[in-house]
Amino acid sequence: MSGPDLLAPEALERARDEALAAFTAAPTLESLAAARTAHIGDRSAVARARKAIGSLPGTEKADAGKRVNVAASAVQEAFEQRKRALEQERDQRVLLEEAVDVTVLPPRRRGARHPLTTLSERVADVFVAMGWEVAEGPEVEHEWFNFDALNFGGDHPAREMQDTLFVEPAGSGLVLRTHTSPVQVRSMLDRELPIYVICPGRVYRADALDATHSPVFAQVEGLVVDEGITMAHLRGTLDHLAVALFGSVGDGKGIRTRIRPNYFPFTEPSAEMDLQCFACRGASAQPGGEPCRVCSSEGWIEWGGCGMVNPTVLVACGIDPERYSGFAFGMGLDRTLMFRHDLHDIRDIYEGDLRFTSALGSEV
């Protein structure tokens, strides 16, 4: 077919139709590529028609060009369309073939922090947020810090209250601290006034291990020494911690604490502190209330001890009791942990079974 024949409208339509048919018929991207060479390539009818335009007389060139362009773009578009279709088919096939069972994850050890650690940090953070600081001290402690400075006289029966583990050499006065209160003494001796500190740590008592006693347990104590500190401040602080750890109730009132008179050598006045039962919120103790297992239907749970720092202790730590007053409180972190997680055996905390830690590892 000579050049002008190629440019005939019928010829161009035929070339276009043949191209479209060839593309549609191509089953794969490879056969489509071959069809492209045949129908779009340099030797294709459309390409040859475009070349033939040059041999036409000037007046016909514009029309012929227009016809070729229309045919060429139709062919090109048909090719692109088919190519997209075939690529989509291929992608779908490949993606299907590559599918995996997403429920099969390679084994990976998941670590966890112990809930006692996270609880201790949580308590510390509550106080740090109020401007308090975290104080620390040794676990093998000298009796002067653990007892004497805290107004436990040498033969005071109160020393008998706490079953002390003594450390050799005999008569050295070394003990495993029976409470974190020696950290309070160290804080008062070493820090600038006013003092607002929280002291979390491990403490030791000569208690046989059973479901509710461990010879090693964790305590957290707080100490404030400042001018004008009152027992009202102690109550405010305890309520704040209770809400921070156990939340507030729906009526907007926080969970509360109450204090009852008690005796500790290092505080005067002294008090026992109870936490409103976070499970029944005290409802079980009301007439007709549903029984509560957490608080044995008493409405309150014993949480720790507290009081106003005994002036004798301030004096032993070099603080003028005429100018300064203070309060202190302490509670068992284990006990708090047991409340929060409905744990009934303290041994679970100290046994090192990783199932225990792992289950509570999401605590923050």
Binding site: H156, P169, N262
Partner: protein, 809 residues
């Protein structure tokens, strides 16, 4: 202290509140009422009966009686095994359907060939003390058919009160009654204020040679005691309810006075005394056989009651055998004394002899009470045993009560609320203080409150009696704080880093056995607990490993297959120091005293330890966890093989070829790796258990000291990568080669990565090939090929010099 509520009511006559309300009121003012025991509430259907006739049944192994008992409107047939009654006696008769303590239900039954239609009760069966074999014979005027529970007042409640060490006065019905009276605003009928006879000039001779330990000694002579006299039922019942066993009239009388007033009394057999009573300290070598039969060597610190024969009692703790009151005793010397708490506490502890008396003396007995208590005992003996009151001795060297000054506003100032001055005054008077002046108040504490020694103690009395629940709730405002210290933040980060590496935190007791340390190589000298909970585990851990490895073994034994645990905590290195003289508490310790106190403590750094077994456990997980921890703190911990001895002995419990010491700036801060196979066997651990431990305090200190890191220059120019394969002797650590490459490549080196290790014929025996990619980059330009090659060649040359490396051909 067990206080029968019926007894309490005799001292607060207007107290009508229920036992539960009394308990609640006492709790509110600070008494720890642990329990309210109810007695007699479980008895019903027992009435007064009269025995109409008694028929002895023959032919049984023991005496058996068949009786008829009238209860007024009916007559019951009863079989009874007791013999201590006769026709005409009034008895406690349990009718069919009656219930006795312990849910013991009485029904009609056939026994010994007769129908027994009820039961004649013994005292014990009604919850009373008394002869368990004989039945309880009631007074003849007991009304027939009357309810025995009502008649004998068998129903009662007992308050079980835990007494804190400062509140000795609560170890008496009198002390608890005082609290109850003030709680309910009622009058107290104080038996401690009873009239007492004055001392006789010819009283029994008593000399106190240790006035610092005994400032009051009242002695009363009682004669003409009827040895056959028994404690009446009401007295026995009081003692039983209060938790003491009735013994004999004389002992029961001294005990009941002690329970009511809190004053311990001691009764000597007057006939057994030789000469005057002397109160003194023990002399060296003296001995005493106490009432419990123990022959005790006395300490010069022990306070004694003596006569011409020597020691006759450990004062305030326990009497001696020879002067003990017996069934034949007809005359007594009753001692009612005040001993210093400390002296009694020491003696009771020294001889391991806690007694009802020592418990009270240790916590402080009212010294003003001695005469009244002795008088109460004498009166009871006169009434109950037909005795006559004899001469009175009273050695009294008491110091006057101190007067404390209390600004009227002080209680309010400490509480954070106001108390009216008259409220302050009234509350102090409630507890027995004498108050003079308006402001400040001059307060004289009562003799029974030795714990009221200062302002704070007086303030507590006002606050607790007004109620702690009336104190407002105010959150204090602390000055701006500095947050957690750098060390505290770093410790948290370190712990999170190990957890992120797949380890599960455990918290373990720090007590270990010498064997567990020996199994790890020994050579450690940690502090020992003098009174350990377990004799086997008396040492304080010098390393975290024994606990961690035991935890691994426990987890494995429970069927867990992939166990990785870690712990951070104190270890105790080396023994503590010798005792410095303990400073006083009148002020802060001096710098020297403080240094001595702190210097006596054993070093107790925090460590971090890891242990893992099973599944994919391998040495590199243990070493890696600690290296990563260092990295999290911004520290580079360099692992290095530890030189093993000729017998492949290794410091610590590790496999000599699969463990590393971890170096920080050239100093060792930890060890980690696979455990020695022998250690795994010895400790029952799975083969190839791995572990590691580092000094967390040292790491944290180094990290905290480093301060803020300078920011890097992040170059935006393209990197150039070159690979080098080097052949080295097999024992040259890769770390050494890498260090040489870093140094040789110089500042253009951005990263170096080992990507292949090859051993085999191609590199020769005893050698290996290490292939590295060096990534080079400059901050300010694209590197030229010449620069890249120069850096590469310099790196190879340095590796050759320092590690004997040659380029692999």
């Amino acid at each position: 202290m067990r206080v029968p509520v019926s007894w309490l009511r005799t001292l607060v006559p207007d107290l009508t509140a229920s036992a539960d309300d009394i308990a609640a009121a006492l709790v509110r003012v600070g008494l720890e009422v642990e329990q309210v025991h109810r007695v007699g509430h479980d008895i019903s259907g027992v009435v007064v009966g009269e025995v109409l006739d008694v028929e002895e049944l023959a032919g049984f192994k023991k005496p058996i009686r068949f009786c008829h008992v009238s209860v007024g409107d009916a007559v019951h047939d009863v079989v009874c095994g007791a013999t201590n009654f006769a026709a005409g006696d009034r008895v406690a008769f349990a009718t069919p359907g009656a219930v006795l303590p312990g849910d013991f239900r009485i029904a009609t039954r056939q026994t010994y060939g007769h129908t027994s239609d009820g039961m004649i009760c013994s005292a014990a069966e009604l919850g009373l003390s008394g002869d368990p074999d004989g039945i309880l014979v009631l007074p003849v005027d007991s009304p027939l058919g009357a309810d025995v529970v009502e008649l004998l007042a068998l129903r009662d409640e007992v308050l079980d009160i835990a007494v804190t060490p400062d509140r000795g006065y609560q170890l008496s019905v009198r002390g608890v009654a005082r609290e109850a009276a003030s709680a309910f605003g009622l009058a107290l009928a104080d038996p401690g204020l009873a009239e007492t006879p004055s001392a006789d000039s010819d009283g029994f001779v008593v000399r106190v040679d240790a006035p610092e330990a005994c400032d009051r000694y009242v002695a009363r002579v009682v004669t003409g005691l009827d040895p056959a006299a028994q404690s009446p039922a009401w007295l026995q019942r009081r003692l039983t309810l209060a938790g003491m066993r009735p013994i004999s009239l004389a002992v029961d009388v001294t005990n009941t006075v002690m329970l009511e007033l809190g004053q311990p009394l001691h009764a000597f057999d007057l006939a057994a005394l030789r000469g005057a009573i002397v109160v003194r300290r023990a002399a060296a070598g003296e001995r005493l056989v106490t009432l419990d039969g123990q022959d005790r060597a006395l300490d010069p610190g022990d306070l004694l009651i003596t006569d011409d024969s020597g020691p006759i009692a450990l004062a305030g703790v326990m009497g001696g055998g020879p002067t003990e009151v017996t069934a034949a005793t007809r005359s007594l010397l009753i001692e009612s004394a005040h001993f210093a708490p400390l002296s009694i506490a020491r003696t009771a502890r020294r001889h391991r002899l806690p007694s009802e008396a020592s418990r009270r003396y240790e916590r402080g007995v009212d010294p003003a009470l001695a005469a009244a208590a002795a008088e109460a005992a004498v009166r009871l003996l006169v009434t109950l045993a037909g005795a006559s009151a004899g001469v009175v001795t009273d050695v009294d060297t008491r110091a006057p009560q101190p007067i404390l000054v209390l600004p009227a506003a002080a209680p309010g100032r400490l509480a954070g609320r106001d108390y009216a001055p008259q409220v302050v005054r009234r509350r102090l008077e409630d507890v027995g203080c004498t108050v003079a002046g308006d402001d400040p108040l001059a307060v004289t504490p009562p003799s029974w409150r030795p714990d009221l020694t200062g302002r704070a103690e007086l303030i507590e009395e006002v606050l607790r009696l007004e109620g702690y629940d009336t104190i407002p709730v105010v959150l204090p405002t602390a000055p701006a704080g500095r947050g957690l210290s750098a060390e505290q933040r770093l410790r948290r980060k370190a712990s999170r880093s190990v957890a992120a590496a797949g380890f599960v935190e455990v918290v373990l007791p720090p007590f270990v056995s010498p064997e567990s340390l020996d199994a790890l190589g020994g050579g450690m000298d940690p502090p020992r607990v003098l009174n350990p909970l377990s004799a086997q585990e008396a040492l304080l851990r010098p390393t975290l490993l024994p606990g961690l490895l035991a935890a691994v073994a426990r987890n494995v034994s429970r069927g867990l297959v992939d166990v990785a645990v870690y712990e951070t905590g104190h270890v105790f290195v080396g023994p503590g120091g010798t005792a410095p003289p303990t400073p006083g508490v009148d002020g802060p310790p001096t710098a020297e005293q403080r240094a001595a106190l702190d210097g006596a403590l054993p070093p107790q750094p925090r460590h971090v330890g890891v242990a893992l077994a099973g599944g994919p456990a391998s040495w590199d997980a243990a070493v890696g966890a600690l290296v990563e921890l260092g990295g999290a703190l911004g520290l580079t911990l360099q692992p290095r093989a530890v030189e093993a001895g000729p017998d492949l002995h290794h410091p610590g419990p590790y496999h000599p070829g699969r463990s590393a010491e971890l170096l920080l700036d050239g100093g060792r801060v930890g060890l980690a790796g696979e455990l020695h196979p022998r250690v795994c066997v010895a400790l029952g651990l799975p083969a190839r258990t791995c572990a590691g431990e580092a000094n967390l305090d040292a790491l944290v200190a180094a990290a905290a000291a480093a301060g803020p890191q300078p920011a890097p220059v992040v170059s935006h120019f393209p990197p150039a990568s070159v690979d080098v394969a080097l052949v080295v002797r097999r024992n040259v650590p890769a770390a050494e080669v890498e260090a040489a490459l870093r140094k040789g490549a110089g500042e253009l080196l951005e990263a170096v990565q080992l990507f292949d290790v090859y051993t085999g014929a191609q590199v020769g025996e005893g050698r290996r090939s290490l292939a590295y990619t060096l990534r080079l980059r400059a901050a300010d330009r694209t590197l030229t090929d010449v620069e890249v090659l120069a850096a590469r060649d310099s790196a190879i040359a340095e590796a050759g010099r320092r590690a004997g490396a040659v380029l692999r051909s």
